[in-house]
């Protein structure tokens, strides 16, 4: 351990470069990972925020953001679902929002029956013509402060509250409102809502209820909340260019990290190959030599990861100003530290092979 640390300090320029490389790759992985995590979280944010057990929707709807009106009112058919506690209609549609300066912006207008609980922002019965928006969308919607008056699809509305955590990458901010306001606003005809949410009794088997409902409404899709959330994330990740680009960037960040750590560890080992030969000549065991190589790699990886994470957090905070949906799960930093250590271990296996196979008799050559 002492020799490993002394070697690192002695070659401090190389060590600093190694730490910088690993810090950069950790930063890259954390930033790209946060973009990807935020993207996936945002892709199913509205779905996840409800405590509904089952979602009924038009056939083939891939995500909440690409909703289509259900062909008919299914509330009567759904009423017999085993263990049903409550039903909520949801309308989701693109409408026009008018800013105070007269310019217009497309928004996703979401109207729901009252009573949806969980993290969904509208629990209570809203007064008529009232809307909630996400705090990160204030500027985009031209709102200086809340409350404020506005116009949605030509109808007056009062923005009563700014909520947190519902920023979207789509560019059309979510507007939360009463069901009947949304119905009027989108000029809904014949109660053609886009989702029907079912809340079941806690003891009810959700999968069984799903099967029953599917048999009763074969022309619609019935998903559990988690299934629909997963379906939405998969759709955005794999079937859209945006998700593919983020996934590719995330994977590239990881690969760059692996390569930098591997290259650094290998180069350091190769540079000290004669010292490893000397150690072997002096009677160092294979374990001693391998541990030395690993320790050098691990110290660089841990320091580099710590620096990378320390730099990434302010950068992420800064980025949150213009990418509100970016999200860093708490597990990311420790996972990245472990990943860096793991990458250093994998890299040191290759490097240690060189150190372990060096011929100790090499020391007899000047």
């Amino acid at each position: 351990m002492r020799l490993a640390c002394k070697n690192l300090i002695h070659d401090r320029v190389r060590f600093i470069l190694a730490v910088a490389g690993i810090a950069f790759s950790t930063f890259l992985m954390l930033f790209q990972g946060s973009l990807l995590a935020g993207f996936l979280r945002s892709a199913s944010r509205v779905i996840d925020s409800t405590d509904a057990d089952l979602w009924v929707m038009a056939r083939g709807v891939p995500s909440f953001d690409f909703a289509a009106p259900l062909p008919m009112d299914y509330r009567g058919l759904a009423a017999g679902t085993p263990g049903l506690r409550a039903m909520f209609r949801v309308i989701s549609a693109q409408v026009l929002w008018q800013r105070p300066d007269g310019s217009r912006k497309t928004v996703s207008f979401i109207g729901t029956d009252p009573g949806i609980s969980g993290e969904y922002p509208v629990h209570e019965v809203l007064p008529p013509h009232t809307a909630y928006i996400d705090a990160s969308d204030l500027d985009a919607l031209g709102i200086a402060r809340v409350p404020a008056s506005t116009e949605i699809n030509g109808r007056r509305a009062e923005v009563a509250r700014a909520v947190e955590g519902f920023g979207t990458f789509l560019g059309s901010p979510y507007i939360f409102a009463r069901y009947d306001d949304a119905e009027r606003c989108v000029q809904n005809i014949g109660d053609r809502y886009t989702f029907l949410l079912l809340k079941l009794a806690p003891e009810q088997n959700v999968r069984r209820a799903q099967l029953v409902l599917r048999q009763r409404i074969p022309e619609a899709d019935v998903w559990t909340r988690d299934q629909f959330a997963s379906r939405a994330r998969t759709y955005w990740l794999l079937q859209t260019g945006a998700g593919g680009a983020l996934l590719t960037a995330g994977l590239l960040g990881f690969l760059v990290g692996v390569l930098i750590i591997s290259q650094t560890t290998y180069a350091t080992t190769m540079e000290n190959l004669e010292e490893f030969a000397t150690l072997k000549a002096l009677g160092a065991s294979r374990f001693f030599v391998a541990r030395l190589v690993w320790t050098q790699a691990a110290v660089a990886a841990v320091v580099g990861a710590a620096v990378g994470i320390a730099v990434a957090y302010p950068a992420l905070e800064l980025a949150r100003g213009f990418i509100p949906w970016i999200y860093t799960p708490p597990v990311f930093p420790p996972a990245l530290a472990v990943t860096s250590l793991l990458m250093a271990t994998i890299a040191s296996i290759t490097a240690a092979r060189a150190a372990l196979t060096v011929e100790p008799g090499k020391v007899f050559r000047a």
Binding site: R2, L3, K6, N7, I9, H10, D11, E274, E275, T278, L279, K280, A281, L282, G283, A284, S285, R286, F288, E359, P360, G361, V363, F364, R365, A366
Partner: protein, 231 residues
């Protein structure tokens, strides 16, 4: 320390260079006595270093056998060679082979750390440096020392384990006359005081007066084995 034993019987070492092979050492048989300072002389390419490598457990012979402290190296696994090197052999190299990042004291101490040698490693390393006259240079790194001083650190490192066998490869080649003499004295004195076998491969005729025995190698064979009575 047990009476050191080191012997080679019909040892051959083959070298490979590209598609060509040849014998670096040919059918060499030799036995060494405790407390003996033996010079291994001969022109470059005569097989001195190869013989030294085999006798020092750094490689196994391609034919014949080597007996070191009662162990036959033929068929000895790598772990066995490592153990023999660690316990019984001290090395001094032409290029010193000190660890650049470590101080003189740490360079000596590392030989004990490797072997998990019991006792006070730091004190023993310090004592070894004192024995080679470097008590005031313990905190210096190799780059801060002269060639002679570096070689003395290497000797301290070789002797700190109190080895039965000391192998030195051209220990004075990179040193000036005064430093070379000092290194030669240290090696031979240490070997005699400890009753160890000192085998020194060298071109340096200045070492001749200190030798008990001189082996001259030519083309991988011992061409001459002369024992000297006066030291």
């Amino acid at each position: 320390m047990h009476n050191p034993t080191l012997a080679a019987r019909n040892v051959s070492v083959t070298f490979r260079s590209g598609s060509q092979t040849g014998n670096a050492v040919r059918d060499v048989s030799v036995r060494f006595e405790p407390g003996q300072v033996v010079l291994l002389m001969g022109p470059s390419g005569s097989g001195k270093t190869s013989l030294l490598s085999v006798l020092g457990c750094l490689r196994t012979p391609d034919a014949g056998s080597v007996e070191l402290m009662g162990s036959d190296l033929a068929g000895c696994p790598e772990s066995g060679l490592v153990e023999l090197r660690r316990r019984h052999v001290g090395y001094v190299f032409q290029g010193f082979r000190l660890f650049r990042a470590l101080t003189a004291l740490e360079n000596v101490q590392v030989a004990l750390d490797i072997g998990s040698m019991p006792g006070e490693a730091r004190e023993r390393a310090s004592e070894a440096l004192r024995a080679v006259g470097l008590e005031n240079k313990q905190g210096l790194k190799p780059a801060q020392m002269s060639g002679g001083e570096q070689q003395r650190v290497a000797i301290a490192r070789a002797l700190v384990k109190n080895p039965a066998i000391i192998l030195a490869d051209e220990p004075t080649a990179a040193l000036d006359s005064a430093a070379g003499s000092q290194v030669a004295d240290l090696l031979t004195t240490a070997a005699r005081q400890r009753g160890a076998i000192a085998l020194i491969a060298t071109h340096d005729p200045r070492l001749l007066p200190a030798a008990d025995r001189v082996l001259r190698m030519v083309d991988g064979e011992i061409a001459e084995d002369s024992r000297r009575t006066s030291v």
